[in-house]
């Protein structure tokens, strides 16, 4: 863990409790997270371990029950709509399900135009906007001329997720929160999308929080890995440390759950 680097995002005792009384569920339980600038952090856990809730709290989409989020060392303030918009210039997300991520009534152009407007490009000449959108699309191997005036649902799942990356390309946030961006698409597109994400990260130097249930994927992309179980971090450290020498039985189990081609797959723990 390169400690000389600046801390970009951190949390202290972040907690989310849903419901009360008999229905009380602690989704995220006093989580402390430190995110250094420029690194890729994976948060790994099975479904229901609180990964997405944590992600939404980090994004400021839902409020936390307890604890604080610090952005660049300063306590995050998203009390007003304006402050939220300011915060979202720095942190952006890619969601799990590309099919439900887009408003089906909006055309692809408007999705990309929103990003340009958010970066203060509202008054740019139209030709310049088109140029920017074309550049973003070509970065993810899409042709803007073919996409213009189309609706997102006319694309395939992989194309939609690539469009999502094009969005990030235009927004150039400091932090990208990728919430299982490849879990809904086929294995071939997955590699392409991961590759594009990593390339984009290199290009604009952003910090990436990668949320996944696939520990193999986490090992492939990340510098630091957090293992999450029942809303808590049970183990964390550098990817090599956590995945090659796991200490916790839960981590061990997650590793065993990854199917391997040349070995017999141990289904007993699934």
């Amino acid at each position: 863990m390169p400690s000389e680097k600046q801390i970009c995002l951190s949390t202290s005792g972040l907690t989310k409790i849903y419901g009360f009384g008999a229905h009380r569920t602690v989704a995220v339980d006093h989580v402390d997270l430190k995110l250094y600038e420029g690194e890729v952090v994976s948060i790994v856990g099975e479904s229901g371990s609180g990964k997405t809730t944590l992600a939404k709290m980090l994004l400021g989409l839902i409020s936390s029950s307890e604890g604080e989020v610090y952005f660049q060392g300063i306590k995050r303030d998203i009390s007003s709509q304006k402050k939220k918009q300011e915060y979202w210039k720095n942190i952006q997300a890619i969601f799990q399900d590309p099919f439900s991520s887009y408003n089906i009534f909006n055309k692809i152009d408007s999705v990309l135009l929103d990003c340009i407007h958010m970066r203060g490009g509202r008054n740019l000449p139209h030709a310049k906007k088109v140029e920017m959108m074309t550049e973003a699309c070509s970065f993810v191997n899409l042709k803007f001329e073919e996409l213009t005036n189309k609706y997102p649902f006319e694309l395939s799942g992989g194309q939609m997720q690539r469009l999502m990356i094009a969005r990030i390309f235009l927004l150039k946030p400091k932090i990208l929160l990728a919430d299982e961006p490849t879990s809904m698409i086929d294995a071939c597109s997955r590699a392409t999308i991961l590759d594009m994400l990593m390339q984009l990260r290199k290009e604009i130097g952003m910090t990436v929080i990668f949320i996944t249930h696939d520990i193999g994927l986490a090992y492939y992309v990340s510098d630091t890995v957090y293992i999450m179980e029942h809303g808590r971090f049970v183990e964390f450290g550098s990817a090599d440390e956590v995945i090659l020498q796991p200490k916790e039985p839960y981590t061990q189990r997650l590793i065993n759950d990854v199917p391997k081609i040349y070995e017999e797959w141990d289904l007993s723990t699934v």
Partner: protein
């Protein structure tokens, strides 16, 4: 959008409902172009003229006459005045007068009339006969005069100077006029109402007003329900609690009682059709608000809404572009239902006498109210209320049918 419309018009239920509704709207628009009479103009002196073609008796005197020798004309003439009921009544009177029943043959018209002419005395009191019955027999006697005559009738006019009657026209029994040649003919398919107004013209105007009332009531209810539902559902928290409280309050108070109280307190003079419509709308919104709130709550945590937030959009923008289009189909369905229930609510209010004031425009409810007050249903004047009833039924039926059709298109679980 085009695809959705195609799907909607492929649903048989929607098409049937839409056709009925469109036909009603078309009649309401086209009819006043051809019949320009005032819908509340009183044309008949008297109440509840039965449906039929009304030919001016005076004008038919001056119309060209054609002689038609129809063999059954005389029999029809007799039958029209001396039906089975009248024959039986004559027998009853004669029997009461003391003539043995065996001597009376009610099928022998000539003999029966002869017996009647010989024995009937309008001044004679018969034990136990009501005054109304006595008057009936007097009327019957007058109408039977000259029934078997083979002569025609003579029309005479009084000479203004001498005061004597002078023959001006003669009508033979075999004289006919062609209805199309009579100067003044009025077709009253639904007769007249208790005030002597043409029911059809009135009905068309009433349907128009009722549709407008329904539309205003539906729009008001849907607009309030939609706004409150969107706010409660999207903003949540305290706002949701307050709106939910008010909505529940309106739901537990029966809205019809509220409607009656408001209509009553407004007063007869101030109650125009649009005020009544607004009042109906103001009491009908809670269910729309509830349903919209539920839908919005399920929508607000979807990823596309999150993405819109992350794109820096304001709450208003998100509600208008990311929430509203997703519930638009539901809102349209709710609007259709609100319109049809608005029409029904106006009818119910008017039957109770709390509808719009009666002097300016007829509404379907008011027509029912008038028919009820003047006892059309007791007197068997079906034309005063049955067409109104059918119109209300057809409007609500067609709207509900459209609604079910839309539901099947928008709700995949209901598709065949």
């Amino acid at each position: 959008m085009k695809h959705t419309l195609q799907q909607i018009f492929r649903s048989p239920k929607f098409v049937v409902g839409f056709s009925i509704f469109a036909a009603i709207v078309l009649i309401v628009i086209v009819y006043p172009i051809f019949i320009t009479d005032s819908p509340l103009g009183i044309i008949g002196q008297g109440t509840f003229f039965p449906p039929g073609i009304y030919v001016s008796a005076y004008d038919s005197l001056g119309s060209p006459k054609y002689t038609l020798n129809l063999p059954d004309a005389a029999a029809k003439r007799v039958a029209a005045k001396l039906g089975d009921q009248e024959r039986a009544d004559i027998r009853d009177w004669l029997v009461a007068d003391g003539i043995p029943e065996s001597e009376i043959d009610i099928n022998n018209t000539e003999k029966l009339l002869e017996q009647w002419a010989q024995n009937y005395d309008p001044n004679k009191k018969i034990q136990g006969m009501t005054f109304a019955k006595q008057r009936y027999y007097q009327r019957l006697d007058t109408s039977l005069k000259g029934i078997l005559s083979t002569e025609g009738a003579i029309i005479a006019q009084k000479n203004a100077e001498t005061g004597t009657l002078e023959e001006s026209n003669a009508i033979n029994q075999a004289d006919y006029v062609n209805v199309s040649e009579v100067a003044s003919v009025r077709f009253l398919p639904f007769g007249t109402d208790n005030f002597g107004r043409d029911v059809l013209t009135e009905l068309v105007a009433a349907t128009r007003t009722s549709l407008q009332i329904g539309l205003v009531a539906g729009l008001v209810a849907t607009l309030i329900g939609l706004t409150l539902g969107l706010l409660a559902g999207y903003v949540g928290g305290m706002v949701d609690d307050i709106i939910n409280f008010v909505t529940n309050l309106f739901i537990v108070i029966p809205s019809f009682v509220l409607l009656i109280l408001i209509s009553y307190s407004v007063g007869q003079e101030q109650r125009g059709p649009f005020l009544v419509a607004t009042v109906i709308g103001l009491t009908a919104w809670p269910w729309t608000a509830r349903a919209v709130r539920a839908q919005v709550i399920s929508l607000r945590n979807r990823d596309h809404v999150n993405l819109s937030k992350l794109s820096g959009h304001s709450i208003v923008h998100i509600i208008l572009t990311d929430i509203l289009p997703y519930i638009a189909s539901y809102v349209i369905m709710a609007l259709i239902l609100q319109i049809s229930s608005g029409i029904l609510a106006e009818a119910s209010l008017s039957i109770l006498g709390l509808g719009p004031k009666t002097t300016e425009t007829p509404t379907l409810g008011l027509m029912m109210n008038w028919a009820m007050i003047y006892q059309a249903h007791i007197q068997g004047r079906w034309w005063a209320y049955f067409p109104v009833l059918m119109t209300i039924a057809l409007i609500t039926f067609s709207m509900n049918l459209m609604n079910t059709g839309l539901d099947q298109v928008f709700n995949p679980a209901l598709r065949d």
